[in-house]
Subunit: 338 residues, 2 copies
């Protein structure tokens, strides 16, 4: 089944802000040789993440920048095609940072996990059972620490992380309020994901709508955006509120950082806490999260939406589309019809 050509998406030049098609190029390479005790994997789905903007940026960050001329870093779900490692056998389903390409020859350490939820679609290993679901689970439950009856607000609420945060909040007995862009996404929040309310940040009366949706104040804010959307939420923090910083999607450039209202007085008067996290610091949480998430998927208590683009040619423009909000749900590139 192994083809002889490996199509790869390389980083052609380093973008200033959001990576666009022109920053990438697609090349055809020979398959790498299987040496040592490595594993040859064939990617089924490639992931497209907001975090990729950071991965290609030279600005100091939480991971080394992808080198110009290198294969674009990406999570993928893949089948083992050949293996010289005793832990992996042909046919195993695995995930890891296999890159935007058809095939990869990797060390066993590069494999994040063997996917054992074979009753569920393999693509879920990149979204709700991947980095997005685990991020939502860890950030909301470990940092946000919601208590039953509290109000949880999440931005980019219709997205892969946000939709999961809102649903977990509901499962934990909280009131969930989503913030998303446009009526289609706010409807998704309330109708598909079960949020109690959802507010469109693109409407002129966003601040009033948010105030109405958060009448009892905000106890946990899961922040995927930063910027003016978050400024509006900060106005409603309750005493003892927890703000979880997961992403900063609404800010195009942090060099220099944009100006905004200072928040120290809010934090003092409300005895509130703002905390950032990066899920890669918490590998020990993955098993706990996957156990919960897979269980909720099987019982039908957790829903997800995928935005699947067909073929590796779609990859170069896929990140910019994410920042424009073109997608509904977790954005993936499908490479095979398996």
């Amino acid at each position: 089944m192994t083809a002889t050509v490996n199509r790869q998406v390389l980083l052609k030049s380093r973008p200033e802000g959001i990576p666009e098609s022109r920053h990438f190029q697609i090349v055809e390479s020979a398959l790498p040789t299987l040496v040592g005790n490595r594993v040859l994997v064939r990617n089924l789905y490639l992931s497209v993440e907001p975090a990729m903007r950071g991965w290609v940026s030279a600005v100091k960050n939480y991971s080394d920048p992808v080198p110009v001329g290198g294969v674009m870093r990406s999570f993928a779900v893949a089948r083992v095609e050949a293996s010289r490692h005793p832990d992996y056998r042909v046919g195993d389903l695995v995930t890891g940072l296999f890159g935007w390409q058809d095939y990869a020859v990797v060390e066993a350490e590069a494999i994040r996990r063997k996917v054992t939820e074979t009753d569920l679609p393999p693509s879920t290993a990149l979204g709700v059972l991947g980095i997005n679901g685990v991020t939502a689970h860890y950030g909301l439950l470990e940092i946000g620490q919601p208590r039953p009856g509290e109000t949880v607000v999440v931005s980019t609420a219709a997205g892969a992380v946000g939709s999961c945060v809102g649903q977990i909040a509901k499962l934990k007995g909280c009131r969930a309020v989503g913030i998303a862009g446009g009526p289609q996404k706010t409807q998704l929040c309330t109708q598909s994901f079960g949020f109690d309310a959802a507010v469109d940040y693109k409407t002129p009366d966003f601040a009033q709508q948010l105030a109405a949706a958060c009448g009892g104040g905000v106890d946990v804010y899961f922040d995927n955006t930063a910027g003016p959307v978050s400024d509006a939420v900060h106005e409603h923090l309750n005493i003892g509120a927890r703000v979880v910083i997961c992403g900063t999607a609404s800010v195009a450039s942090w060099d220099p950082p944009p100006q905004g209202p200072r928040i120290e007085r809010h934090l003092l008067v409300k005895r509130a806490r703002i905390e950032g996290f990066v899920i890669f610091d918490h590998p020990e949480h993955e098993d706990v999260a996957l156990h919960d998430l897979a269980g909720w998927l099987r019982s039908g208590q957790l829903r997800y939406l995928e935005d699947v683009l067909d073929g590796i040619d779609q990859a170069p423009g896929a990140i910019a589309g994410l920042y424009r909000g073109d997608n509904l749900g977790k954005r993936l590139i499908r490479l095979t019809r398996e």
Copy 2:
């Protein structure tokens, strides 16, 4: 010993920003009558706190505003002059919110505590063994959670809270860096309070000096100021840093909040946390803190400085002086020569 006149400092008008002399007036009243099971106390020392700006402000806050025409709210250390309550006897030393006045008749519930450290000067009950010391102890140890070898930075470092924070940090095996205004205060930090380094925020090369003093980055920042001083510290946060918001002394008005650089990206990349607290929420911590603080005082490991103004006539202008940085150490008003 009881005089027949009670001199009281009343709030005459509500200030927009920092309270000045003109916002207060001094009146002479008759002593209130001792009724019910109340206690008559004679104030020895009155406290002057940065927090008083908030207490007289009508802006939503963590305590009700002092009413115009009312006695200015203040902590005081006092002797019981007469008592109808079984728990208090004539001669007992007590602290509480007795107000800027010579005498107060109070319910037992208004007494914060009976001062039992009679081997130490009574004025310490308002500073290092009062709200300032307990604030430093709780904020640094419970919220900042410093570990030995870490770098702790504190702003208004020569002040009543800041000097205590730096010394506790040293006692816990940390490196202590102070930020203060002017060479006299930075010298105090290093020479009297044992900070490893102190930086003058009023010098033009403050940013460079701070960077040099924090070569290994900042693990805990105990923030009494907010504003540009804090912006400079945020640049140096280490991974996993904790920022404790205790006060916002450098910002004259929060209505509307001033603009500053957004900090979400710092918090995300550094997995850092910013948290506000108000010590009145944590009465259970007082005994623990006083036990430590009094012990360190007796063993000579904890030093303090007092800025004592003589007579109640000094009170009306004393808050503004605090914000100008006129004082060296805890500012107090002495009412008797006891």
